[in-house]
Assembly symmetry: D2
Homo-oligomer: 341 residues x 4
């Protein structure tokens, strides 16, 4: 990770915690988890960033035995097997491995935890809940800072425990049938100054959407009231401005904290559509792209019937990355350092 301000305190406990939230688990997060060991090999001295590139390593304890000759041409539906073949002409890592492994998000989560810690020092909080899963909905955000603090301590991030229980039941039921479920994540960012972002090409929506839609399984994003607002009239949708304690605020936040691509000082809120995990046990129709034959596929191995509760920490991490970049661009490269500005 390059571009870090010098002098940011690296909170290794937070890194370990974020990695924990990302890990797969027995059933939906109830089983014992071991830590991912990580090692920072450059860019940190005495627990603080140096300002030069930070390299963090997470050894892959679970490496394949190397029999790459067995690369199958059987394309798993919903996966990148076939598209990787089109792009990489057969030289890609074996099905689901290497750069296409979900494991690659571990390094992202770990390094962005440094940013999340630095943003918190500046009063900027980021949190995500499972807003909907398998038809069950969590309660809406209330007091955002309290809710975010609560969520960031939870393995299965919901605001309403009962809803969480129901979601887990749905996930387990799907898993028991060899199937999978998706859902919706909702992310909120509080404490952002007004005036971040560009009116064109690099709006805050553009930058966040770019980052979020790079996360595997995310197929949509909307800001504020988003798709739910398309049937409102302007008079219902517009957020009225009001002075409060000498500050301009909006009475509602249907625009998700962004007007004309630029932050308005209200919380930035967005939702993510998470598709159901494509890895399922049920037999599916597909092709062998090496032989050009239609063939059935039944995917063996262990796989989670849902990933959205784990994707949540990846969403938080990518959000931290975008916000840190915006702040450094706007206020200069030292902005996130502990002891400056």
């Amino acid at each position: 990770m390059d571009g870090l301000a010098p002098g940011i305190t690296v909170d290794t406990d937070l890194i370990a915690h974020q990695l924990l939230l990302r890990r797969p688990a027995g059933k939906t997060g109830t089983a014992r988890r071991e830590e991912d060991p990580f090692r920072i090999v450059s860019g940190m001295v005495n627990g603080k960033t140096t300002g030069t590139p930070l390299c963090l390593l997470i050894p892959n304890s679970n490496q394949r035995s190397g029999d790459y000759a067995a690369l199958s041409g059987l394309a798993r539906p919903g996966h990148a097997d076939y598209t990787a073949q089109c792009k990489y002409h057969g030289f890609q890592d074996a099905r689901g491995g290497g750069h296409f492994s979900g494991r690659i998000t571990a390094a992202l989560v770990a390094s962005c935890a440094i940013l999340a810690g630095a943003l918190k020092q500046k009063g900027i909080l980021i949190g995500t809940h499972v807003q909907e899963c398998g038809g069950v909905r969590d309660r809406a955000f209330g007091n955002l800072n309290e809710d975010i603090t609560h969520l960031n301590g939870q393995v299965f991030a919901v605001l309403d425990d009962a809803a969480g229980e129901s979601m887990r039941a749905v996930i387990e039921a799907a898993g028991a049938e060899g199937d999978s479920v998706g859902g919706i994540l909702e992310t909120a960012v509080t404490g952002l100054p007004a005036g971040l972002g560009e009116p064109w090409f690099d709006t805050v929506e553009s930058l966040l959407a770019h980052a979020m839609l790079s996360i595997p399984g995310i197929k949509g994003i909307d800001f504020g009231i988003g798709f739910d607002g398309v049937r409102l009239r302007g008079s219902e949708y517009n957020d009225a401005f009001r002075m409060e304690n000498g500050t301009v605020i909006t009475e509602t936040n249907r625009n998700g904290g962004i007007n004309g691509g630029i932050t308005n000082g209200m919380p930035v809120c967005f939702r993510l559509a998470v598709k159901p995990t494509p890895s399922i046990y049920k037999e599916q129709k597909t092709v062998d792209f090496l032989t050009g034959e239609n063939k059935p596929i039944a995917i063996a191995g262990r796989h989670d019937p849902a990933i959205l509760h784990r994707a949540r920490v990846v969403a938080d991490s990518m959000t931290a990355l975008v916000i840190a970049d915006l702040l450094a661009g706007r206020y200069g490269t030292d902005y996130l350092a502990d002891e400056r500005k």
Copy 2:
């Protein structure tokens, strides 16, 4: 516009046509429209691109008289007046002018028409319809190439004329009440090769979302079945692969033509949430950010009760920009030239 391949035929009729689709009109597109005059001052010789930067000018026939001293601090709800003040400290163009004017999309539409023409030569078509407006829904896409060809000739782009009539009635009714409406656009791209895009950071979804969410008024995007698919199970969502005439296709297209961030050769499809136009005649609550007072605002002047039917050609233009960039990056800078490759 830089990065154009040399030797692309510049279709000035297509430029004029695309500009026409973008123009405001009496009621919702029924009145007589005059052309935006444009002039290409560099980057074209004998009707073909040179390969060096192309500069296209559209004179602003409707310039303000220049009394910029009257910059008001009254923030129009839903607009960038307040956020522009936060970012530009009072030096920005007057309310709604300059870079914040919708007029800025004219140059974008005009220059991207060159790309759209070149893409068409390669068999790549782009089209958008108003999928939903004011609670009225257009019919779904059917034969995509036919539908796109039809849409690109329409000022108010719908597949079902009756639905279009109803939408226009809703828009006019809202306008008559001094209010506005939003809706959903749906865009399809056909003819793309499989293997475009990156598995991380620059997925095709990321690049398209980045571009689309830079368009004023767009607050959400989803790909394929998107948010509507979050309640499906994996076995319902996954697109089965099948061989057809020696080519790998998918039987459904719930992933919107993209697997793992990379095109799979199926049409790329996405929807855009367009918020209701923030300019309304009804009185609204707001603040004067220069004086810090709460004040009502009533926005005078002429403004459209809906912009989504005009935003549609901006969406097509930004799509052409992203696709042309992807192709040039993948296959080299000469790819879109008429007479090469």
Copy 3:
């Protein structure tokens, strides 16, 4: 030009002045010059930058009559005729026109004059002299701020008037023989804070070299004592540090104000090798790349026997561009605004 801080005062006199320095003239700068008319069509309100893209137009009063059919395949030695053909396959502007015309530097000089004015407000001065031309050398820089102020008022920028007279005589003599001369420019930047630049990939030397070697005719750059220092020993080359009035300075400046890619607070100094103007009247050997024949070429028309005294203001402009970018990146996007920070 995008990325300008909002609120920079645009000094149109300085723009006109810089354009004047760039213009060709009878003999070497002695004849009467008319102004290039320019017009700022966006990005400026009431004489200050808005912070959104600034568009400045300089109409081309001297446009070709349009007979592009006469594109010759006769490659002028030292020019881009042949390489443009290889890159643009015959679609490029006719020989020496369009993007390959030296005229393109006018817009660059004009827009960078805005940066030069803003940098001056921050105490950062940029100036260039003709260090050597046709074997004649100017005197070395002395009091830098005084010398720069002097140079920026001169059409033929030398510190020693007698040297300048001799240079002009050499240039005119070469011109009289249908030949041309080159030389060396030396640029100095004073007032820069220490700590700008990156240790790798984007060193200050890298950024300045990138910019300078994009100027037509520049074939080399060195910093501080540069190539002249390669025979010194380390003990002779190293710049000793010393405290002076509470500030760290170096006693000499052989490193040109940059250590490890980062500014050290001393003036940044570099030299540019300017090749002799390739346009000469003397007959030369060449090929017709359209027919594949060896042919002689004699270049008609008016052309200067030297351009280095005009390239000097282009070098100043590109330097301002790099420095402004470095400062905005380091200290934030508002840094160059008049009334902030």
Copy 4:
């Protein structure tokens, strides 16, 4: 390293060989060298690149014991100690360590060896010799491909062995006096197609200069005849074109294979000014930037009296990086793959 084409054969012997050329050695390259062990942990399968990011690790066998409390404020003249303090505010790695260690070039050399191998498959060769060191000059390039092949096998890269002996004697003599020497490197690239590069902003000269001036100790670059050509007249400097075996060539190569920023098909040639190694044993004047006192410094430890013969392989590596990028941009991302195009 990201952006590698899929299917490039990774020649680990070449990587080891390039690392060997970079290593310090007893006296000037005569002593026994051990290999740097390296490990490729991603981006390669069965000895070929996958097309996704390649991660190569070189463990630091020689790590500091960690007593970072001893960070001294004594700025070594010619080094980045003081500028790093200005940029990183005391959080940087200790003097000469971390990102400021010359050791960081090892990873660069190793990964660029993959590119060098792939370029060679396309007939593109890169080589560098010590053109001048301590006042001794090597012979000029003759048959370039033969000379490059010869140089790439040499630890101390000269074309004339006797000159190399004299250079080494000069280096050792300087070392014996606790001093150091610099010199000039000359790099040549053969086999490049005509038509690479941009006429403005990203000329081939700009891109190569950007890369080269990022290498520690490089203070200047010139192309072709460069600074030596500034006293020539245009008629002497211009390279005449001529047809040879159906191809356009130039009779001389004073422009270093580049016209108007674009390759012309002739070898690309440039020289680099390498300053004398700043680490010397002789006592020097400096300051303690933590206390603000003037103090003498005597640098202990082992350091080479010259680095230019080692910097040569770093120059070759950075050249390979720039050329590979240019080719992938021009001809598409698969261009360097073994079995395609």
